[in-house]
């Protein structure tokens, strides 16, 4: 026999939605068949009467409670729970503790850049009452730009948002289809903006390092780079020579291809030319497609700022030579590039780092022309002469930077080189500048007698202490009879510190060079290879 509980509570008001919730909660109690907790409006009285409850007179200002339970005990329990729920409603005072709601697209984020300080503050939202929001509001925020590093197939949307909002964009992502790249760059051209990338690993804009970026002293040099690690090597060497860099504008490895036609290179050259703080422009790239090379050369010739071009390739300057050309163009004699002897090497001064040994790899040729044959004695006394008693042995280049890898292969002219920063090794894992695991495996697999050549790239975004994991592996390799040579690309200002890393790596048994070309040359000689003389072009 079921038991009905009917109450009319006067002077109690709750909104109907809250009460529907209470009704649901009470209905869900064991032994309760149906519960109506509602203001006693005509509608609610009718619904309750249809359920067969006997109702006393009541009006819309009264709270109606009607519970049908399996037995009086269950009805009493329901009434007690009801009281608890209703008092809970009255005491409900959870404030508007709105959680932070970060923007979900670059489009939404660009609105926050418009109104600095408005980001993420509850209630202090931008009150831009412009009716439409088509994103074209001139150049908001002046120095604002967008860094996109989402997976390649999705990068286009975010980059397009940036352009739509009047912002330049760096696309760190790789695997972006070339037709999308062309489209973005054309649109950027129409809007007077710059697209850096895709697959742009490094940029420095107004002192901010984006992607893998070294901490460079500010200065008069502006760099346009279709090669990330190439730009890092050149700017780091300039930094070591006391020359600062204002901006490094990456353009992506495909920019100077025939399909893209140098759209961003031309735009970046123009922008640096217009930048009053840039006194010298350095253009770093793999050799461009022929027609593109002409266009770039022509454009460079029209600029009022001098341009030093470094197109890397067989028979051309290496990066170190390019840096030296820049220095000479600025009237500065290139210094000896730092190197650190491997621990236990007898012929060093004992003062590790900054040895000042004459490691003049560049030769005297000014204006980017290489010096006379044989002027590449990098490493001085410690460099084994080629054709030594040592019979030729294998050279394994284990690289994280694509351009550094290519440069080392060209300089060494021998050996087996692998770029672990290439797409095929980075799918589903971090870049080797962040996670050295694959390179450590490769180093451990070098057979005794062979020479190992590695690059270690410092700067923001890279492993905060690369020597920590490399050092034991280097020591193990050396003790197995594998000489280890390291090209250490970085500056003293980098978070890791160039000298500290150089010392640590050399203490572990590696021969360390700040110049990748010198490192490659040294390693090739260790391997007994006849190192080709750098071409005079």
């Amino acid at each position: 026999m079921s038991s009905d509980l009917v109450q009319v509570r006067t002077g109690v008001y709750h909104d109907s939605v809250s009460l529907m919730r209470v009704s649901q909660a009470v209905t869900a109690l064991p032994g309760v068949e149906v519960a109506v907790v509602a203001m006693a409006t005509g509608l609610n009285l009718g619904i309750t009467a249809e359920l067969g409850f006997e109702l006393p007179p009541a009006g819309p200002a009264d709270l109606l409670v009607a519970v049908r339970a399996a037995d009086p005990g269950a009805a009493d329990l329901a009434a007690a729970e009801l009281d608890r729920l209703l008092s809970g409603l009255a005491a409900r005072t959870r404030g508007p503790a709105a959680a932070e709601h970060p923007p979900r697209t670059v489009r939404a984020a660009a609105r926050l850049v418009d109104a600095p300080g408005a980001a993420g503050t509850g209630g202090g939202a931008p009150t831009d009452s412009a009716g439409t929001d088509d994103g074209r509001r001139g150049a908001p925020g002046g120095a604002a730009l967008v860094l996109v590093s989402v997976p390649g197939p999705y990068a286009f949307a975010e980059a397009m948002d940036a352009l739509d909002a009047g912002l330049s964009v760096m696309i760190f992502s790789d695997n972006v289809p070339v037709e999308q790249e062309v489209l973005l760059k054309r649109r950027a051209g129409e809007l007077g903006l710059l697209v850096m990338g895709p697959d742009c690993g490094t940029a420095v804009v107004g002192g901010a390092g984006l992607g893998f970026a070294n901490v460079l002293r500010p200065g008069p040099v502006g760099v346009v780079a279709a090669s990330g690690t190439g730009a890092q090597q050149v700017t780091c060497l300039l930094d070591l020579a006391g020359v600062g860099t204002g901006h490094v504008l990456g353009v992506g490895g495909r920019d100077l291809s025939a399909e893209v036609g140098g759209l961003s290179t031309l735009r970046a050259l123009e922008a640096l030319d217009a930048d009053p703080a840039t006194e010298l422009i350095v253009l770093i790239s793999k050799p461009p497609a022929p027609g593109v090379a002409d266009a770039v050369r022509q454009a460079a010739g029209k600029l009022s700022t001098p341009v030093v071009t470094a197109f890397l390739g067989p028979g051309r300057d290496d990066l170190t030579a390019a840096a030296e050309s820049v220095l000479r163009a600025l009237g500065i004699e290139p210094p000896a590039w730092p190197s650190w002897p491997a621990a236990g090497e007898a012929d060093e001064t004992g003062e590790a780092g900054w040895t000042g040994a004459a490691v003049n790899a560049g030769g005297p040729g000014a204006n980017g022309n290489a010096g006379p044959p044989g002027a590449h004695g990098g490493g001085g006394a410690v460099v084994p002469e080629s054709g030594d008693a040592v019979s030729a042995r294998g050279l394994r280049g284990i690289y994280s930077g694509g351009t550094l890898c290519t440069e080392a292969r060209l300089v060494a002219g021998t050996g087996e080189f692998t770029d672990y920063g290439d797409d095929e090794y980075t799918r589903g894992r971090a870049h080797p500048m962040i996670d050295p695991a694959l390179r450590l495996e490769a180093l451990a697999a070098v057979p005794p007698g062979d020479v190992a050549l590695l690059d270690v790239v410092l700067g923001h975004g890279a492993d905060p202490d690369p020597s920590a994991r490399l050092a034991p592996a280097i020591t193990a390799a050396v003790s197995r009879g594998v000489p280890v040579v390291v090209a250490l690309v970085g500056t003293e200002g980098d978070p890791q510190g160039l000298a500290a890393q150089g010392r640590a790596l050399s203490a572990a048994g590696a021969r360390v060079f700040a110049s990748n070309a010198q490192a490659a040359r040294y390693a090739a000689r260790l391997a007994g290879a006849p190192v080709p003389v750098r071409s005079t072009r």
Binding site: G123, G131, G142, L145, P153, Y154, A271
Partner: protein, 464 residues
């Protein structure tokens, strides 16, 4: 040509790998972090095609501009047969087009009621038999510049609010609201339902017509703007707007029809949702102003027929893109529960289409329990809609958000990119024909309607 980013303090928006963002933090470079997530599955290629469409940015600016600059005014109340192409035996209904076989309980109930109202059947059984035999012609309200709440059934003798857009010249219609409980729009067709509709045709409609002839056009844009600041979101809460409307009309009602003034005002003032219908017509005329702009990816209609949820897109003409209508997650009247609920139904999502309703939840603290019970959740619901909309409404503002304009103009591409579906507030109709309203709550549209629209936009985008 100079590049703005090369001068001044850098400020960076980051989307993607956190490591790169943290590197900027380490340099103390101010940045805005995008909480990026992959788009809806399978949309990458379509997105790339649509986003590359050179017409898109300007087309969307124009669409959003037209939607938000519309100036809806209530100009008249007239019988449907006078203003709509609605010969006897033809009925309009809510949502995308549907035939009797696929119609849900409340849609069938409302059609039965309309047959009875029009005198085309003597009882419900006969009406049902005739409808099942295809003896009535059905068409979507949206095809006739019309919207209708819930079942949205319009028959020739019903009276309509006529709303005119003083900015762009469009006109839209919506029926008169019957009140709550057992009403035709929720699929009820009992004698009290038909009796009320007859009274609305004989008394309410003519009195309102005469009233508006005295008052002249009524500025609904301004009325809606005021109601938002008084705690309405204009879909599930219309209490302030109804009060404002009644206040505007009352003196003229008395002047126009002293004999009926009391019953008319009692009826209008006693129904908190009386304004829903002119409000919907205001939203419809605004959204219609944004139709037919090639390349625009903006939604100009969201509507449900109780079986399908459909959307229309500015750049794609009158095509519907549909998915199955969901069952609202709601709170129930009396002893009703989820098992009694019909799938989502009604044209009232025209309010969300125009930036009101669920999109303006933050304006309506009184009904926040629909969205989880907490004011902060209502604010979150509104805030998230800024992610998928093209504009902020210049007149419809939310006091609690610093008078920020409501998010308006849903962009199909942003829905696909963020996976955020429009937030819709709604009433819940009973599943069985004749039941009426059983609750109210929140419903998510089917993602497939938006991905289908995106695919069609990709097809329509110029190649290369």
């Amino acid at each position: 040509m100079t590049l703005p980013m090369l001068s001044g303090e850098p400020q960076v928006i980051t989307a993607g790998a956190d490591l790169l963002g943290e590197a900027l933090d380490a340099q103390a470079v101010p940045r805005v972090r995008v909480d990026w997530r992959p788009p809806m599955p399978g949309t990458e290629d379509h997105l790339a095609r649509v986003l590359a469409d050179p017409r898109r940015a300007a087309a969307n600016a124009r669409a959003a501009g037209r939607l938000t600059s519309a100036r809806p005014r209530l100009v008249a109340v007239r019988p449907a047969h006078e203003v709509l192409d609605l010969p006897p035996g033809t009925f309009l209904h809510a949502g995308p087009p549907i035939e009797w076989e696929r119609a849900s309980g409340p849609m069938r109930g409302a059609l039965i009621g309309a047959m009875l109202l029009e005198g085309l059947a003597s009882d419900a059984q006969e009406a049902e038999r005739l409808l099942a035999a295809g003896r009535a012609r059905l068409d979507s309200c949206h095809h006739h510049r019309t919207v209708g709440p819930m079942a949205g059934v319009v028959s020739p003798s019903m009276w309509m609010f006529e709303v005119h857009d003083a900015e762009h010249g469009g006109t839209a219609y919506c029926s008169l609201n019957e009140g709550l409980g057992k009403v035709l729009r929720y699929g009820a067709y009992g004698p009290e339902v038909i009796g009320r509709l007859r009274w609305m045709g004989e008394v309410l409609g003519p009195v309102l017509r005469a009233t508006l002839e005295l008052t002249g056009p009524l500025d609904l844009r301004s009325l809606i703007a005021q109601a938002l600041q008084m705690g309405d979101e204009l879909h599930n809460r219309n209490r302030a707007a109804t009060s404002l409307l009644v206040r505007e009309l009352a003196p003229a009602v008395v002047e126009a029809a002293p004999g009926h003034a009391a019953e008319v005002l009692r009826f209008a003032g006693g129904n908190d949702h009386f304004f829903l219908n002119p409000g919907m017509a205001a939203c419809k005329v605004s959204a219609d102003a944004a139709r037919g702009i090639p390349g625009s990816t903006m939604i100009v209609a969201m509507a449900r027929n109780g079986t399908d949820f459909g959307v229309q897109v500015s750049g794609l003409g009158d095509r519907w893109f549909t998915g199955p209508a969901g069952v609202p997650d709601g709170l129930y009247l009396g002893a009703y529960g989820p098992a009694d609920a019909n799938p989502d139904i009604g044209d009232s999502t025209i309010t969300e289409t125009a930036g009101l309703g669920g999109f303006a939840m933050a304006a309506a603290p009184a009904i926040v329990r629909f969205v989880g019970g907490d004011v902060s959740e209502a604010v979150a619901a509104t805030r998230s809609m800024y992610e998928i909309t093209l504009a902020e409404h210049p007149a419809y503002q939310i006091p609690g958000l610093g008078f920020r304009g409501t998010p308006v103009g849903v962009d199909v591409t942003l829905v696909a990119r963020t996976g955020l579906l429009p937030t819709v507030n709604t009433g819940i109709a009973g599943r069985v024909a004749g039941t009426g309203q059983v609750g109210a709550g929140l419903v998510s549209p089917p993602a497939s309607a938006f991905t289908a629209a995106l695919a069609a936009l990709a097809d329509a985008a110029p190649m290369g």
